[in-house]
């Protein structure tokens, strides 16, 4: 069949989900339906219609809220439209005959123009898919099973309905709402499916959660059991079945992803997910009994997997060096010497192995940028507005280049030149041997990042919010892209894409040749950290406190790790581990593949600077005035 599994991980990705209906189709806030229901706000959008929060105006003295589900009946011929409306009425009547705490009450239904409406009980809370999104790490099995047992209850009610079994047909986390009191409610009763004809080749239900027979148009109670199994699998492993090959659950049993799942529950899940319907639980009641039996075992009897608590390594530094003020910049190491700047205005040269002082050079301003090196010189900028070139060996000045603004940008050395930005808004290209200016490029605001060289184009971002691509030889503008806020993050290159963060909360990926945006990823606060690429992944920190790992080609989130404070430090990847600092004073080492914590080292103050690794040692500075050398 030509399906290449080994390449799927790296090459195939889902396109991002986006809202479905055009703006014009959505009812505006304040619209009143039937002279009685006032639209308060839009809650969700689907392909067939929307869900609104509304108010029943009949109860004028109080805020009587309700949910309104709208379906747009836009078939071109009147016969189909009539048929659709009939089906809709039939389903609405079934819903009206149900009475269960986990099923929202239906109060009314009507058609208006080519749209049909259901007025339902308003349910407060969020759905399980959203809840999973913002949960750090795995859900506890106990918590997940509390909800699942309630779902079993309501499915049992539906399957044994005396007027004929009702099959839910669309069981999945996003159709399970959790109220503030932890009670669940099933939403989306398949009313929308009324409008889809069942034709050979099309699907009913949601891919990934649906059993094989549902693809043939057969939907029975066994199908709900399969879908519940798929839902449990998703809740316990955080692996969305829609993003995995269909029917691949047996290749990824829950404990292989989340070892904290008990073997008994895993057995329940896998049985519910049997390909052949006869091999699954005979009824939802049977499945519920199996879950209860598994829960019933007390802690001593349950064979847990390997401890869910990670054993953190404890880390002792190889050496520490004290400067006279904060260290907010990153070091660079070459030939056994470590160079780092401090807010005490000095650039230090230390012995990398022992941390002994070799020399220091005083400037007139704080140093927050990272130095760069060529064969014999070290280059760095200072807040005294000058770019310095010192001898690596002696620390004596070779030349200096004044600018009109503070220098917070880290210089780049290549092609016999030093490229750096200044707060005066210029990007400079000066000769490495003399400091003489070759060209400068005027951007719209201070330039604080480290420029990147991509096949003869210098790429950098500015506080004016633009990302620039400038010709290396002449300084002429080649392209620019605008983001919505300033950029201090430095760009990095990986597999044909330039990655850069912005204060507009996004991490961007631009096509390296044209600068055209290919994808962007939204975090929950500014991205000041500079991304790092390793293999197929890109890593970045955000002021929202998280460290993110994304798939490089598509921007799909692979994992995120929540630290205790803002992450302005840039990650450094070495040998399967991501090293990064946080404003919570810690330096973190996380596993590249899973985001699992390897170790955490506590310093005496926030760590806004970025680590580097050289000769199996992690070097990083902290605002507690120290430079640390930590063993890998």
């Amino acid at each position: 069949m030509g399906i290449r599994r080994d390449q799927m991980e790296t090459r195939k990705s889902p396109l991002p989900a986006i809202p479905r209906l055009p703006e014009s189709a959505i009812l505006a806030n304040g619209t009143v339906l039937q002279g009685r229901y006032e639209i308060l706000k839009l809650r969700a959008l689907g392909g067939m219609g929307a869900v609104y929060e509304a108010r029943d105006l009949r109860f004028s003295h109080t805020l009587r809220r309700c949910a309104i589900k709208e379906i747009i009946n836009a078939a071109p011929d009147p016969q189909t439209r009539h048929l659709n409306l009939q089906n809709f009425e039939r389903e609405a009547n079934i819903l009206a005959s149900l009475n269960h705490p986990a099923i929202p009450h239906i109060f009314d239904y009507f058609g208006e123009g080519n749209r049909a409406y259901l007025i339902l009980e308003y349910v407060e809370g969020e759905d399980l898919e959203a809840l999973l999104e913002h949960t750090n790490g795995f859900l506890s099995e106990e918590r997940a099973l509390r909800w699942i047992l309630q779902v079993c209850d309501v499915l049992e009610y539906l399957h044994t309905h005396k007027e004929g079994a009702i099959v839910f047909r669309d069981m999945k986390p996003s159709n399970i709402m959790v109220r503030p009191d932890d009670r669940i409610v099933l939403v989306d009763f398949g009313i929308a499916k009324v409008f889809l004809d069942q034709k050979r080749g099309t699907m009913v239900g949601t891919e990934g959660y649906s059993p094989p027979e549902q693809y043939r148009g057969l939907a029975g109670p066994q199908g709900d059991i399969y879908a519940l199994g798929a839902t449990m699998h998703h809740l316990l492993t955080k692996q969305d079945p829609r993003l995995e090959p269909p029917f691949s659950f047996h290749e990824r049993p829950p404990r292989s992803i989340n070892p904290a799942v008990s073997p008994e529950i895993e057995a329940v899940v896998m049985k519910a997910l049997e390909y052949e319907a006869e091999k699954r639980f005979a009824s939802i009641t049977e499945m519920k009994q199996a879950i209860l039996a598994a829960c019933g075992k007390d802690e001593a009897q349950r064979q847990g997997g390997p401890a869910a608590i990670h054993r953190e390594q404890s880390i002792t530094p190889l050496w520490e060096f004290a400067c006279e003020d904060e260290v907010r910049s990153s070091p660079v190491v070459m030939k056994g010497v470590l160079y780092i700047g401090s807010y005490d205005n000095n650039l230090y040269a230390l012995d990398a192995e022992k941390g002994q002082f070799i020399w220091k050079y005083p400037t007139e301003g704080g140093i927050c940028s990272t130095p760069c090196l060529d064969e014999d010189k070290v280059f760095f900028g200072s807040e005294d507005r000058i770019l310095y070139a010192l001898s690596q060996r002696t620390g004596r000045i070779v030349w200096s280049c004044p600018t009109d603004g503070r220098i917070r940008s880290s210089p780049l050395a290549d092609y016999g030149h030093i490229f750096f930005g200044s707060d005066d808004g210029n990007l400079y290209a000066v000769k490495a041997d003399s400091g003489r200016l070759t060209w400068k490029f005027q951007a719209g605001g201070p330039i604080r990042c480290h420029p990147l060289l991509v096949t003869e184009t210098i790429v950098f971002g500015g506080e004016d919010g633009h990302i620039y691509g400038v010709d290396m030889g002449t300084g002429a503008l080649k392209w620019k892209q605008r983001t919505s806020n300033g950029i201090v993050s430095s760009p990095c290159l990986g597999d044909g894409l330039i990655y850069i963060g912005s204060r507009d909360w996004h991490l961007y990926a631009l096509n390296a040749r044209s600068g055209w945006p290919v994808w962007r990823f939204r975090t929950n606060n500014c991205v000041i950290s500079s991304p790092a690429v390793a293999d197929v992944r890109v890593f970045a920190g955000s002021v929202d406190g998280n460290v993110y790992a994304l798939e490089g080609k598509s921007g799909r989130l692979l994992w995120k790790y929540a630290t205790g404070g803002q992450v302005t430090s840039s990650p450094y990847v070495y040998n399967g581990t991501v090293y990064i600092g946080s404003v919570d004073s810690c330096v973190y080492a996380l596993e590249v593949k899973s985001g699992k914590l390897r170790w955490r080292f506590q310093t005496g103050g926030p760590v806004p600077s970025s680590p580097i690794v050289a000769e199996n040692v992690v070097y990083i500075g902290s605002t507690d005035h120290h430079v640390y050398a930590l063993p890998l």
């Binding site: 396109l15 991002p16 989900a17 889809l196 099309t202 030889g473 002449t474 055209w516 945006p517 080609k553």
Partner: protein, 298 residues
Amino acid sequence: MMLDLWRRISVFPGHRKTTLACRDPSAVAGVERRSLCSPLQVGYATDRGRDRKHNEDSLFFWRSILRRAHDYMPFGLFIVADGLGGHANGESASELATHVVASRVLGEIYLPFLNETEADASPAPINEVLASAVEACNVTVCQRIPGAGTTLTAMLLMGDTAFFAHVGDSRAYLLSQGKMQQITEDHSLVGRLLEAGAISEEEALEHPQRNIIYRSVGQGENLQADWYTIEMPPDGRILLCTDGLWGSVPEQEMPQIIVTAANPQEACDRLVDVARQRGSVDDVTIILIERDRAAHAG
């Protein structure tokens, strides 16, 4: 102010080491000429299946070359769509899908690209445009032609990079160094069951649902399209086709047919002939895209 002489030096250990190279002004003109990219050659064919009233496949392609900051970039959009057979209006669905995607991509990527010097550019990223294009197709087909469906395989070429949005069982292949490599993954129900070990090869051949795809444009809610990107190698060719071709011509035989043809158009015509000889009764649709043949000798 252009420098007369550039000398590249290798920097600290760990940095990519490059050989010492020297560029002088006399070489500059040569460099500029070489940087003009090879023009794209495109062949296409669409052939109605035997005993069919209408050809339910649709195709679309559009290409251009534009100059941007001393660089000539090829830019192209190529789409194949196969209307689901046995459904009402399969051809309307596939045609509609090609129009909607083309309109979105040209309007939200190409035109902004051309107009970027005028506007302060902040365009939507490519993958979001492709996602919204596929979803727009899905909603439009669903609402205007309920019950209809189509596959969709679209490729956007920008410079050396190809971006794909894909739903269904039409395919995109990369032909490079004499080997055919399937880029897209079929959303074939039987294919997936076979891979999952739920059915055997023999069962797959006779399976009553062997023509069923589990994702199609027009299915309504929850449509998820796949996204692929590849860098085009210098000798690379891309083949987009519907199952009328790959269902009867094994992919190992395709390179020979393509490479020995005089040009991509002839290659497409030959592929259709071979498909018919092998007994394909389905609609066959192909688009073949290649760079200048002089760039790769055979």
